[in-house]
């Protein structure tokens, strides 16, 4: 099997399994006052410190959550509610249309149920949001509750200059949230240096377990809770701490950050081979997102493990199925809950037509990827695209 879907999830690191297994063998609620509780508390707080150090945050800025979706919901809704409560004029949310659905659906829920007004940011063809576009959308900022721009796009891998965007938002007194789920471990993510007010991250994209993540939240940021009942996490998030998962998150994040520079270079090398090789076999294949050597703020402008290609005349779901049958696992853009393929909202947001959006595949590399994985794809991609094109021809 050739796994080229690391952006969906990536294999759990052996050291994570070991650390979690050790913790799972112990009793103790981190909120209990006795010795077992104190031991659990100690493990959780060590993990908090470790995660904070890996991401340039203070331990008190780390709120453990149930994953990226919860962190995005908490940041967008919580900041919106708190800021509007402080000043009822703040009803506007400024957001990019290429965000993950955890952000988009939260924003749309607020628009439908809480009277929020949405201002959609214009996005460059590469998928990037520029400080100028953000400044235009914010205006004088007095009516804006929150802005949200992802650090790196999960589909086409575009990295935005989050520090510049945070400075732009702060110029008019608006807090910026960023979804950095895909960025952590692939590009340099320093919460403190970036200036953002809230940052979403999750464990399972880094070799940690599913179901645990964090929201990094500045101490001065007011955020209304989604979950009530105990106030374990700074009174912003309630629920018994899942200590084993939190330990796993911290081990994974530390490993991802420590090995980042070397791994990013390896991934970029494999990714470039993959893209060049695919285009060599399918000359009219089109790379979506930034150029492979794109640069933003002296770092990569595209996630090193991300390749996203359109194959004109072929449907993404036919390509996916044919590759799956040949043992190669990748992804088409977004799928709704019923699994019906829809044109990727990200590609539509960057100006692709629906046909191009429907004909695309994402290949994403990660810590277990090898040259053999790329070779396996290159062995079959030509005939697969040809067959998918024939299957697509009869469609109206």
């Amino acid at each position: 099997m050739t796994y080229l879907d690391h952006a969906a999830t990536t294999p759990v690191l052996p050291e994570v399994v070991a650390a979690m297994a050790e913790q799972l063998g112990r009793v103790g609620n981190a909120s209990s006052l006795h010795a077992s509780g104190r031991a659990a508390r100690r493990a959780a707080e060590q993990a908090r410190e470790r995660l904070a150090e890996a991401l340039g945050a203070r331990p008190s800025e780390v709120l453990f959550t149930g994953g990226g979706t919860e962190s995005d919901n908490l940041a967008v809704k919580g900041l919106f509610w708190a800021r509007r409560q402080a000043d009822s004029r703040r009803r506007r949310i400024v957001v990019s249309p290429a965000e993950h659905h955890a952000v988009l659906d939260s924003v749309e829920w607020l628009a439908k149920h809480e009277g929020a007004e949405v201002t959609w940011l214009s996005v460059e063809p590469s998928g990037r949001v520029t400080p100028r576009a953000l400044a235009e959308a914010l205006g004088d900022g007095t009516d804006v509750a929150v802005a949200s721009v992802m650090w790196a796009n999960n589909e086409i891998g575009t990295v935005s200059d989050i520090a510049a965007l945070a400075a732009t938002a702060h110029d008019v007194g608006v807090p910026l949230h960023t979804d950095a789920v895909q960025a952590v471990g692939q590009v340099l993510v320093d919460f403190g240096a970036s200036g953002v007010d809230a940052l979403t991250m999750t464990a399972h994209k880094l070799g940690g377990p599913m179901g645990v993540g964090a929201l990094l939240l500045r101490r001065e940021a007011e955020c209304t809770p989604l979950l009530h009942g105990g106030g374990q996490e700074r009174d912003v998030r309630s629920g018994t701490l899942d200590v084993a998962a939190i330990v796993g998150l911290a081990v994974a994040a530390a490993a991802a950050v420590e090995g980042r520079v070397e791994r990013a270079a390896e991934l970029a090398h494999l990714r470039d081979r993959l893209v060049t090789g695919v285009v060599g076999q399918v000359p009219d294949a089109q790379l979506n997102g930034p150029a492979l050597d794109d640069v933003v703020r002296s770092g990569p402008g595209r996630l090193p493990g991300n390749a996203h290609l359109s194959f004109p005349g072929a449907e993404g779901d036919a390509l996916l199925m044919l590759l799956d049958a040949r043992g190669i696992e990748c992804s088409t853009g977004s799928a709704c809950s019923a699994g019906v393929a829809r044109p990727s909202h990200v590609l539509l947001a960057v100006g692709a037509d629906p046909d191009r959006a429907r004909s695309s595949l994402r290949f994403s590399l990660g810590h277990t990827s090898t040259d053999a994985d790329v070779d396996a794809l290159l062995d079959v991609i030509g005939p697969v695209v040809e067959r998918a094109r024939r299957a697509g021809m009869g469609r109206r």
Binding site: A318, M321, A391
Partner: protein, 365 residues
């Protein structure tokens, strides 16, 4: 063989897929998303294209360890089946959407795509026997679906597999239960999948709006009532006519004239027909020599009627029935069978009914 199993989420297609796996085929499951409203949840026993049904199908595929995909056929289905259904009613005819779906979607759009993607055949959970290119009734007469498959051609049948035709529905449920499929006890689907509440008249009224017209008694020519749309009527219908005719004799819908929106009704003796003229026929194998003695079934779950088939105009047929039938509606398919008590009646072909009449010589017979 590499086969594609169409999995609706019901018990029949689940067992059909399982039997295809048992038979040693390389099976891939596909759920067809046909409804434009994907969030529709199953209501009562009906539906085959809700999100919940797709999850049921995926659940079975995962148990079988086969790949599973959802194919979005909603646009094709809307155009070729739903819009056709509405247009046929608007034209005063009574369509069969399941037959249309088999003809245009399952064994056309899906089969073409499957073949292009490298599959050899499509497996479905239809209750019909298919061997050596010969399509026959299921052993379970009550569940037989050969009527709605009668439109398939030899080429389509060559790439179709129906594993359930040789067993009863009870046996299908037993197999599902033995395998622990949660759908073993799932209720059968009924009626029309895109009208989950079963209210066909209401569905058509929403699509076609109010199109009032007269209800005329054939015997007197008198207008005896009014209606809000001819689509609320089917030839042979007796109930819900909303007329009073002054006598106790039941009336039946005899005909629907879409231009003047006239619904003609009459007594039982006028409602019978024994000659059917059809549009062009399709055959499940080489076209048979005409004239031909056969049996004809005139609607889903209808009784077969012995008949004589001769060639009509424009490739159509003229079918002379041995016995007078009521409720023979234009738009329905006349499916021809060669009776065979041992191997199951064999489907010869079908043609859409265009017109019916009572043969002059037969009046008063």
């Amino acid at each position: 063989m590499r086969v594609l199993a169409a999995m609706s989420g019901g018990v029949d297609s689940a067992v059909a897929a399982a039997l295809a796996v048992d038979a040693g085929h390389d099976v891939t499951g596909v759920h067809l998303a046909l409804s434009q409203d994907r969030q529709a949840l199953r209501s009562g026993s009906r539906g085959c294209c809700s999100v919940e049904d797709s999850h049921d199908a995926r659940r079975v595929a995962d148990e079988l360890g086969i790949p599973f995909y959802v194919w979005d056929m909603a646009d094709r289905f809307t155009e070729d089946v739903v819009d056709d259904f509405v247009a046929e009613y608007a034209a005063g005819r009574t369509p069969n959407p399941c037959l249309r779906c088999n003809e245009k979607i399952k064994f056309s759009a899906v089969l073409d795509r499957a073949r292009a993607l490298g599959f050899d055949a499509v497996v479905t959970g239809h209750h019909a026997r298919l061997a050596d290119g010969e399509l026959r009734r299921s052993v379970d007469a009550a569940k037989d679906q050969s009527y709605v498959l009668g439109v398939l051609t030899a080429d389509q049948l060559a790439a179709a597999v129906f594993p359930l035709g040789g067993m009863t529905k009870d046996r299908v449920r037993e197999i599902a239960a033995e395998r622990g499929f949660a759908v073993a006890t799932k209720a059968d689907s009924h009626d029309i999948c895109f009208i989950p509440d079963g209210d066909t008249r209401g569905f058509l009224a929403r699509r076609l709006g109010s199109r009032p017209g007269p209800v005329v008694d054939a015997a007197t020519g008198a207008t005896v009532g009014a209606h809000e749309g001819t689509y609320g009527f089917t030839v042979g219908q007796r109930r819900g006519l909303g007329v009073s005719t002054g006598d106790q004799e039941p009336r039946y819908v005899l005909g629907i004239e879409p231009v003047t929106r006239t619904v003609t009704i009459g007594t039982a003796e006028l409602a019978g027909v024994d000659e059917i003229t059809t549009a062009g026929a399709t055959w499940t194998s080489a076209a048979p020599a005409l004239p031909l003695r056969a049996q004809v079934q005139l609607r889903a779950h209808g009784e077969p009627v012995p008949c004589e088939v001769v060639a009509g105009a424009d490739g159509g047929l003229v079918i002379a029935l041995d016995a007078v039938q009521r409720g023979v509606a234009a738009g329905q398919s006349a499916v021809l069978y060669e009776p065979d008590a041992v191997r199951g009646d064999r489907v010869l072909g079908q043609a859409a009914i265009r017109a019916t009449r009572r043969r002059p010589a037969a009046v008063g017979r």
